[in-house]
Subunit: 72 residues, 2 copies
């Protein structure tokens, strides 16, 4: 998988978990101290997130990092 | 878990998988195009790796990202 595909798969997984919980992009952005614009760029697969950011997202979505990254 | 603990847990997990495969730090660094010094700083828990770096490490260690990040 290319880096571009990787970023997109991570983004789609976050969106899947977020919508399953009935959470808006704005709410998730607020929980992890993200600007709304950053959140939408992230969910468009346009960023290369760090483990620290992914951990905050996993906590906000109440899943483990391992569950968050079940993308293969 | 604090960010420091997170970086350390990820580092310990990579070291655990690397040594299980009988791979040296130098060999892993070579496989993912890392300087040896970066690899040792990473395994000391001193860095906040991106998903792109973690994916390269997972591939080099022949595990999925989800398996790599089973740290909770």
């Amino acid at each position: 998988m290319t880096e571009k595909e990787l970023f997109l798969k991570v983004a789609e997984r976050v969106k899947e978990l977020r919508t399953e919980k009935g959470m808006s992009q704005q709410e998730l952005a607020g929980l992890i101290d993200f600007e709304k614009s950053n959140m939408s760029r992230f969910e468009a697969g346009g960023t290369n997130p760090t483990i620290a950011t992914l951990y905050k997202i996993a906590q906000a979505l109440d899943v483990t990092l391992s569950e968050l990254l079940m993308i293969e």
